[in-house]
């Protein structure tokens, strides 16, 4: 039978593991279904492991990004998953698939990018594997740690919680659009949009301050897009949400780009993936964006967790939204 959708397939796999696999030991606090698996190391320390596969033409294109940037982004995507649990990434394990005739310089460029991102986040490449393949494949498994009282899962959002997001949204999607247009003069005018797509930086540097200030009830990183990832939180927490469109944080550059193209910035903000911003819920209240860290990252309140349904508030009107999200098999 054909694969109908990624989510159906994941459901089938989960069922199979639950039915035929060994019973989950007490040590394994979180298995499939969050940004990372979580397991007990000692009384107060937890281990985190996440894995992500990046494949040429699906996840990256060499006509859009250089290999160093491709490596950088692959590592940052995993660092972001560890940060989304409240943790710190420690050791990375890199499997590469390389097509015949692939230049050694390109392999080393991928590694330069991996190392650069790892260095920023305090992460060391501690192992890996290499094979020939039909296309460039980068799989990263990342090990991290978090203190038990700092762990934040997806599944604990409470009705009435505020919804917050770090940084601003939408730039990655706009950056990709510009790059694909291959118009040099436009590329030059929107350097920050391009940079956000090519070299996004995960929010590992403000994670401790964020946890101290907000005591998040749930958290996820934005890799699929705000709507998709917020749905992950709500599905895991059995809640709904309402988002205030006018609160969505977007950069001046994105506003300028949208006004030029006569497009709505909120379309970008709601759907842009690979942003690697942190999306979280908390019962804290802030009146205006709070600025965290020496990088001066804003944290903005964008909506509220409700008991059910997914809604966007636009000009005081409640619009019901259906979320599709990217699906590899649709």
């Amino acid at each position: 039978m054909q694969i109908k959708s990624e989510w159906e397939l994941l459901g089938n796999i989960k069922n199979l593991i639950n039915k035929e696999g060994l019973p989950k030991p007490k040590d394994l606090i979180q298995s499939i279904g969050d940004d990372c698996a979580v397991f007990t190391l000692s009384g107060s320390r937890l281990g985190l492991i996440t894995t992500d596969i990046s494949i040429e033409s699906i996840h990256f294109r060499r006509d859009v990004s250089g290999f160093e940037d491709i490596g950088f982004k692959a590592m940052m995507g995993n660092v972001s998953d560890i940060a989304a649990m409240g943790g710190k990434a420690k050791y990375a394990f890199v499997s590469l698939g390389l097509p015949a005739g692939f230049a050694k310089e390109n392999v080393l460029a991928i590694y330069k990018g991996l190392i650069k991102a790892g260095n920023m986040a305090g992460t060391i490449i501690a192992g890996g594997d290499i094979s020939k393949a039909k296309e460039v494949i980068i799989n990263i498994a990342l090990y991290g740690e978090v203190k038990k009282n700092k762990l934040i899962k997806r599944s604990n959002a409470k009705i009435g919680n505020n919804i917050f997001v770090t940084g601003n949204l939408g730039s990655s999607m706009a950056g990709l659009e510009i790059l694909l247009s291959k118009k040099r003069n436009i590329t030059k005018q929107f350097p920050a949009l391009i940079k956000k797509h090519i070299m996004p930086i995960a929010r590992y540097s403000i994670i401790e301050e964020l946890i101290d200030k907000f005591e998040p009830t749930s958290m996820i990183d934005i890799s699929d897009g705000l709507l998709s990832d917020l749905r992950h939180i709500c599905d895991s927490s059995a809640t709904g949400f309402k988002l205030n469109e006018e609160c969505l944080p977007v950069s001046k550059e994105l506003l300028r780009y949208c006004s030029r193209l006569k497009k709505s910035p909120s379309g970008y903000a709601l759907n842009s993936g690979e942003e690697y911003e942190l999306l979280f819920t908390s019962d804290k209240i802030i009146k205006r964006p709070l600025i965290l860290g020496k990088e001066q990252i804003p944290v903005t309140r964008i909506g509220k967790i409700t008991n059910k349904g997914f809604y966007l508030i636009r000009d005081n009107t409640k619009i019901k939204i259906s979320i599709t999200g990217f699906d590899h098999f649709k």
Copy 2:
């Protein structure tokens, strides 16, 4: 520049990581260069992580193995890496790449095999990722643990140590040959050779007994082939070896197969990869194969660690051997 060889490339990557990466923290006991990375969890407990990528047409072929067997073998290969450090595999993270039109049943068959092998070794699938790809890709990252005083690395073989191997050797290569010949009548006559290729079982079940009885100084699992893997031990330990050809353990079925084809069994024993037997060095002496575990696995002495050079003793003659081994990029 073209990639000249896997080993040269790995050397370049290691140099780059050492030069540009963060300094190795004290906690990271073993990084790239053994079956697993090793890091401190608490005073007496160590964490182990290994990762392996399996790619269709390079590592497996669907005309030779069913998808359940392909999943089984991929998991066992990783379990074997953990066993080779003296450890126990706990949590597995599976990334799949699936070509367009790949049937859902085949994905679930891969998972059935992964689960079956995991169950045998006490391992749980705790996370993963799925993407579309041009070919079937299975990447497994496996987390395990070992007590500090049970850890066995590659790098500590001592001159004068005896060299031992579990089980018997050569069957996987012969099994693949038979399967590729596609002659049904031959397939039926050599079920154990076929099984060893299709569904090899790593030696996790006897690892504790083996460590207690032999106190190995170094250990590796045979994934590349006896000669290649023994060279890994010797390169890491700065030693040489001499192997006694007549001591190499081979099954009666392999002897029968070789006599039929008028081939030398030792060619198979020396070069067959994916055996997942344990190869180790120890100062213990045994007169005849020792039998371990309820599966009655023999452990056979096959040679000695020397100060340098790689030699095979055949009919009392010392033959110098050069080892090439499989290289993805040659």
